[in-house]
């Protein structure tokens, strides 16, 4: 545990001092700022069922696919390439402590990015809103959506970490993470849009498909519905990915 704390503090410090983290933060804020701006413009033109914050959160997949791989790609791939991971494993620190420290630090950075995003709706309400009117930035929707992003982020970051463990190339790690996250985000929607009902032999897929609806989970969280099934899905998926990452780090020779 002491090694984990030491490694976590080191990883957080490295992330804070790394230019790539700041570049990723810039890209994230530019993306989310732009999306929020267009959601506000769109909301001012025509009445909509969704508030601007809800519409913005609906695009969470964009930074997920474009920014998160930038955060996770270097975690192991770069260290494996330079040999510093092997040097780290010559100390009594275990592979489990190393993997969990890198995972948790990346997840913290990811959550901090999203907390920074809350500045946009906050400033919008401050500047343009009227007291009591929550249409510009309903805090319940905002914090519900952020809870979803934080919980699903556990699995998303774990997938990125696993992708970084299996290669020495940061670029390849980013590409693998991009494809895996795209598949995961789109899987539920794609399976839902398939006419599974009419294919009897695919009937068994109905239940898993219902569990993989990423956007449905976001909608539930934003609406304040706390379902334990997605939480179990994301936490078990996280443990599975991190377990595989530990095996990958231990097995590298």
């Amino acid at each position: 545990m002491r090694h984990f704390r030491t490694l976590l503090a080191h990883e957080l410090r490295s992330a804070a001092l790394s230019w790539s983290t700041w570049a990723a933060a810039g890209l994230f804020l530019a993306l989310m700022g732009g999306i929020h701006f267009f959601a506000l413009v769109e909301g001012s033109r025509a009445p909509s069922d969704r508030t601007p914050v809800e519409s913005t959160l609906w695009f969470f997949w964009l930074p997920l696919l474009c920014v998160l791989p930038l955060l996770t790609m270097r975690t192991f791939a770069e260290e494996r390439r330079s040999g510093t991971l092997a040097a780290l494993l010559t100390t009594p620190a275990s592979a489990t402590a190393v993997v969990w420290a890198k995972f948790l630090s990346t997840w913290i950075v990811w959550v901090v990015f999203w907390l920074l995003f809350t500045l946009f709706p906050f400033l919008t309400v401050q500047r343009l809103g009227t007291p009591g009117d929550t249409r510009l930035g309903d805090p319940a929707i905002l914090w519900g959506g952020l809870c979803f992003i934080a919980i699903s982020g556990l699995l998303h970051v774990a997938i990125g970490i696993l992708c970084s463990c299996v290669t020495r190339s940061s670029a390849l790690a980013a590409l693998l993470a991009f494809i895996s996250l795209l598949a995961m985000t789109a899987a539920g929607g794609a399976m839902e849009s398939l006419p599974i009902e009419s294919w009897e032999w695919l009937g068994w897929l109905r239940e898993p498909a219902a569990h993989l609806r990423t956007f449905g989970h976001l909608q539930d969280f934003a609406a304040g519905i706390l379902d334990s099934r997605p939480i179990i899905l994301y936490s078990t998926g996280t443990l599975l990915c991190l377990g595989l990452a530990v095996l990958s780090v231990e097995g590298q020779e």
């Binding site: 010559t90 100390t91 009594p92």
Partner: protein
């Protein structure tokens, strides 16, 4: 009352270590040991399996079969326990480029379970010992020269005062001044830590090490003190002689003290003849040769024993087969 832990017989034990990559055998049936406080040179041609063996001993790679232990702790069964007694500096000494030397050593000290109250003191001590304090402590590792990077690697190895230090090519790429510094540093560890050091600079190894282990194609071909290996692997001692006498007279004089002595002519100059006299290793004639030649009326301008260094031992050892090594 605290009782000191008993000293193990061997600080490092490799017993029938074998490592295979598919059909390729990198290390085979390799057995050797390093006593506490001893400095041992680990030699072999490129691709002989030195780095693989060191990685198995350090727990960063698992062997296919055999047993490795550090300070009595099995590397396979208790890797974390073995690593507490061990410091390993891998070949090429990979270091994070974006940390300052002091930050890096502090991090490593914490990961190596140095008492938190002693971390600062230990970091300062190893930086002083490795001459890093004045010129490198505040610099980014990525900006350091090769020599200073090697020093950082060695400082890291010494941080937690381990019982065993394994250094893979610690002087590679260093200039002669830096090599001298590293040599003195390693020499200062004698009696305090067991050191296993691989190097291609045989002169260095001969200067620093108590014992050498020589492997070839993954197998042990020789091990022991340099002097013992010299006797074992080099069957003759030889002397170069410059004299007015001819070969026949010289041979006759030598044969009076050693029947197996041989004489070979070398290129001569200025009217003087040069010869090489060879005697079996261990022959008592070695001490009496000069006296015997003078007693036979042979005038000598020069007589000198040819010194065979570790290089000759290494070449002889790596030429012989593992079967010959086992028999000897």
């Amino acid at each position: 009352m605290n009782e000191a832990a008993p000293l193990p017989e061997a600080a490092v034990v490799a017993e029938k270590l074998t490592k295979r990559y598919g059909s390729l055998t990198a290390v085979e049936d390799l057995s050797f040991s390093v006593a506490p406080g001893e400095i041992v040179g680990f030699l072999g041609p490129n691709g002989a399996g030195k780095s693989t063996t060191m990685r198995i001993l350090s727990g960063t790679m698992s062997g296919t079969s055999g047993r490795a232990s550090i300070w009595g702790v099995s590397v396979a069964l208790d890797p974390a326990g073995a690593k507490r007694h061990l410091a390993y500096m891998p070949e090429n000494n990979p270091l994070p480029e974006d940390l300052r030397v002091e930050e890096y050593l502090t991090l490593r000290a914490r990961l190596k379970d140095v008492d938190p109250s002693r971390v600062g003191e230990r970091v300062r001590k190893v930086m002083d010992d490795c001459d890093l304090t004045r010129r490198a402590s505040g610099r980014l590792i990525g900006q350091l020269s090769k020599g200073f990077r090697q020093r950082v690697g060695i400082a890291d190895a010494l941080l937690a005062e381990p019982k065993v230090v394994i250094l893979d090519e610690p002087t590679i790429g260093l200039d002669p001044h830096q090599i001298l510094g590293i040599r003195d540093l390693i020499r200062s560890l004698r009696g305090k830590m067991a050191v296993l050091i691989s190097s291609h600079i045989l002169h260095e190894v001969e200067q620093v090490c108590d014992k050498v282990v020589i492997i070839n194609r993954g197998r042990l071909v020789a091990q022991g003190r340099t002097e013992d290996l010299r006797r074992e692997l080099l069957p003759e001692v030889s002397f170069t002689i410059v004299t007015r006498a001819d070969e026949a007279a010289l041979l006759a004089a030598c044969r009076t003290i050693e029947a197996a002595a041989t004489v070979a002519a070398l290129p001569s100059a200025d009217g003087w003849n040069s010869f090489r006299i060879s005697l079996p290793t261990g022959s008592s004639a070695r001490e009496t040769l000069a006296g015997a030649l003078i007693a036979a009326g042979i005038s000598l301008r020069e007589i000198a024993e040819d010194r065979f260094g570790l290089e000759d031992i290494f070449l002889a050892a790596t030429r012989r087969t593992p079967g010959e090594a086992r028999r000897s």
